[in-house]
């Protein structure tokens, strides 16, 4: 019986050793990811626009306040997306600011349709 326990114990130790040592022998390239920040900023802007629209439709807010705030957020979204494009334009070959504005409007449309109201 003791041998079985010693055998199990050895397996546990070896498995742990394998888990910590394996990355040093792997040939795979290991990379890190920084993309979340842009996604978070944009998402929060869209969420805020959505909330505003909801508040307006539920008659909690005056129309002029709603339109003013919505415009502010759309500008913010446009800026964030432009920044994103500048960051990756070499990669994607995307360099048309007018088309970027169009895309913002399209994405906001998608948001209104799918992102909740």
């Amino acid at each position: 019986m003791d041998y079985i326990f010693l055998f199990l114990c050895s397996i546990i130790i070896l498995t742990c050793f394998y888990f910590v040592a394996a990355p040093f022998f792997s040939k795979e390239e290991v990379s890190s990811d920084n993309s979340i920040r842009e996604e978070v900023s944009l998402e929060s802007v869209y969420r805020a626009v959505n909330e505003l629209e909801m508040d307006f439709l539920m008659m909690k807010m005056e129309e002029k306040d709603y339109l003013q705030l919505k415009e502010q957020y759309q500008l913010l979204a446009a800026n964030l997306m432009k920044k994103g494009h500048q960051h990756t334009k070499k990669k994607s070959g995307f360099d048309d600011s007018a088309q970027a504005e169009l895309e913002i409007m399209k994405e906001l449309q998608i948001l209104r349709k799918f992102g909740g109201r």
């Binding site: 498995t15 910590v20 990355p23 792997s26 978070v40 998402e43 994607s92 909740g116």
Partner: protein, 659 residues
């Protein structure tokens, strides 16, 4: 087995230290292989803690009394389910459970889709520090695999109060809540270390925090249900210091869950949010310190020992580390924090809600610690007890209920008083009508009436929010009412999940207020065939019986129950004399319906034909459990929501595909 158990614990210490250093080296040298190795270390820790836990379950299940822990908490005749749940009946096992859950959380985290996030090595290091502490404490002070020199023929058995289904769920859910709070804490510290004080860490930990809060809620509700059924107090909450210890982080995390919405949307309250997360985490350690140190008297306490000191030291270390990190980044946080633009807005009302919740937490903390504080100052331990808590917490909770009734009606950023008042009319009317009806039907007590009316006001507000939301969606999308209702819920899980949680709280509030303000209580000695009345119930004593079950002697009183003149059945309150326990335990008999519980305890007896019974009628207690379930459903809906949907996946590189 002894070898496997102890190897797992010693190896756990070594691998925790190694993984910490691997993370530090990986961060310093910007070498991902070290970081991957640290991640492998976390996986090893999951394996080791699982192996140790499985082993403990095995020795408990097979009654291996050569292990001190098994002999101390189980016995041969204990049902298998309680042999296994004895895992967390004592210090050593419950610490191992804590460790296992911590390792599982860390494992899920470091292998999640965010595993390559730059914050991850920092967050993982904080969790590894926690894991290391638990491995050390288990080995130094509470080793479940410690063996005795002589093997007893039978164990001491499990405390009868712990032989209840609540034992299966309450500790596990509460620990899942406690341990889960380490994740947002780790990310908050990681974000500060990396000077990334935007809402990213909040976004990454939203689900983890909600899961922890869900389990804390469940743990507290199940704990209340267990106390109500098993302890025979007739109550579900006794403001016991250890109950309070689990209520404290619940309050602060509730505050956090609201204030993060402001940071996410407006970049406000950054210092406040970080402070709340740190406070919540420290309070979980504080709760554990209370349970382990034995400094306060409680039915939950595990007794004296040096464990409390270890927890105190660790708690102080983590608190100081957090304070240091916050202080050194304070200017940065302040610089990047936006001020509140409008004092009449949802943001402001959330801030007020936060202040009330934190004030509640402080009041509970003060009351729980007062015996210690008074002892230090005057030399005499003064227990404040339930009257203090009821007096202080009632207005605080009332304030919260009223705020929950008002807050959803206020718009984000730029609310107007005119629109708000217009929206307020019918929920407020519902509350006022409730108060009038209650007075008209003869309900007494001004404060309970205000409380009940406020709960209805809050309920009505949320119903109005659902109705207005459906109408708004129908107007905007031209969908029919059914489709609009479903889509409204499905597309806004966060908002409406939260509202469902609020509705659950309103239901609980009705149960708590009614059962606290209007209970009926009778202590009656009756002879066979004799009847007595309580409320609309008439109880007739039919006789006392004795029998044996699983080696335990059971004495039961049989009572016929009539409700409003109609026979509704029979109940049997019992006293159980456990073979392995010196004191008998009361098994309460409860007859429950939607509006009240008949609650009967067999207090004592003179002979087979003469018994003393304590009977209570507790109004609306079942609403508390129902409200708890509604809260869980609401949190579940919120958890599904907030996912990065198709419209939100706007990584710059993929944007073109959307044209």
């Amino acid at each position: 087995m002894y070898v496997i158990g102890n190897t797992a614990l010693y190896l756990g210490i070594l691998i925790s230290i190694y993984s910490l250093f691997a993370n530090i080296l990986g961060i310093r040298k910007k070498n991902n292989r070290w970081l991957e190795s640290a991640r492998g270390g976390v996986l090893s820790l999951v394996l080791l803690s699982s192996a140790a836990s499985f082993l403990l379950l095995y020795i408990l299940g097979t009654s291996q009394f050569q292990y001190k822990y098994v002999a101390a908490y189980t016995s041969e005749n204990l049902p298998m389910v309680y042999k296994l749940t004895a895992f967390w009946a004592g210090n050593a096992g419950s610490l191992l459970l804590w460790l296992l859950l911590l390792c599982l959380y860390a494992g899920f985290l470091v292998f999640s889709k965010e595993k390559k996030n730059p914050m991850m090595p920092y967050a993982s290091s904080i969790l590894l520090l926690n894991i290391l502490f638990f491995f050390l404490v288990i080995l130094m002070s509470a080793n479940p695999f410690e063996m005795s020199e002589t093997i007893p023929s039978d164990g001491k058995g499990l405390n009868p109060m712990l032989q209840h289904p609540g034992m299966i769920l309450h500790p596990v859910t509460l620990y899942l809540g406690y341990v889960g709070l380490a994740v947002p804490f780790a990310f908050a510290i990681a974000a500060l270390m990396l000077k990334r004080v935007d809402a990213e860490w909040i976004k990454l930990t939203r689900r983890w925090t909600l899961v922890a809060w869900l389990f804390l809620t469940l743990g507290n509700i199940i704990g209340g249900w267990w106390a109500y059924l098993e302890l025979g107090w007739g109550g579900y909450w006794a403001w016991d210091p250890v109950e309070n210890a689990s209520f404290l982080p619940w309050l602060t995390v509730s505050a956090f869950l609201h204030s993060v919405m402001i940071q996410e949307r407006k970049g406000m309250l950054k210092t406040w949010n970080i402070s709340l997360v740190i406070l919540s985490y420290v309070l979980t350690l504080f709760g554990t310190f209370l349970v382990r140190s034995g400094i306060l008297t409680s039915v939950h306490a595990f007794g004296n020992g040096n464990l409390g000191t270890y927890f105190l030291i660790f708690m102080a270390f983590m608190a100081l580390l957090s304070i240091y990190v916050v202080m050194t980044r304070y200017q940065l946080i302040r610089k990047e924090t936006n001020p509140i633009e409008s004092y009449f807005s949802k943001e402001s009302s959330f801030l007020l809600n936060n202040l009330i919740l934190v004030a509640g937490a402080f009041a509970v903390f003060w009351g729980s610690m007062y015996p210690l504080i008074s002892e230090v100052i005057t030399g005499t331990k003064v227990n404040v007890g339930p009257p203090y808590f009821n007096k202080v917490m009632a207005p605080i909770m009332l304030g919260l209920i009223v705020l929950m009734a008002i807050c959803p009606l206020i718009a984000w950023q730029k609310a107007t008083v005119e629109k708000f008042l217009k929206n307020l009319i019918w929920p407020l009317t519902a509350g006022i009508v409730t108060a009038i009806v209650l007075i008209a039907v003869g309900v007494k007590g001004i404060f309970p009436i205000i409380g009940l009316a406020s709960a209805v006001f809050m309920f009505a507000t949320h119903i109005k929010e659902f109705v207005s939301g459906i109408k708004a969606r129908m107007k905007a999308t031209k969908e029919n009412a059914a489709k609009a209702s479903l889509r409204l819920l499905l597309k806004n899980q966060r908002r409406y999940g939260g509202y469902i949680v609020h509705i659950g709280i309103a239901v609980i509030a009705i149960g708590v207020i009614s059962s606290t303000a209007y209970p009926k209580d009778v202590l009656q000695t009756v002879e066979t065939g004799e009847s007595f009345k309580i409320g609309q119930y008439e109880l007739t004593f039919k006789g006392l019986t004795e029998h044996t079950e699983n080696g335990n002697g059971i004495v039961a009183a049989t009572l016929d129950v009539n409700h409003k003149g109609e026979r509704v059945g029979e109940i049997k309150p019992e006293k159980i004399f456990y073979e392995t326990w010196p004191e008998p335990s009361s098994e309460v008999a409860i007859k429950t319906n939607l509006t009240e519980d008949l609650y009967v305890v067999l207090s004592s007896w003179e002979d087979r034909d003469k018994v003393t019974l304590q009977a209570k009628v507790n109004p609306f207690v079942s609403w508390i459990w129902t409200g708890g379930m509604i809260m869980v459903i609401g949190t579940g809906i919120s958890l599904i929501g907030g996912r990065t949907s198709r419209a939100y996946k706007l990584k710059p590189g993929t944007l073109k595909a959307g044209v």
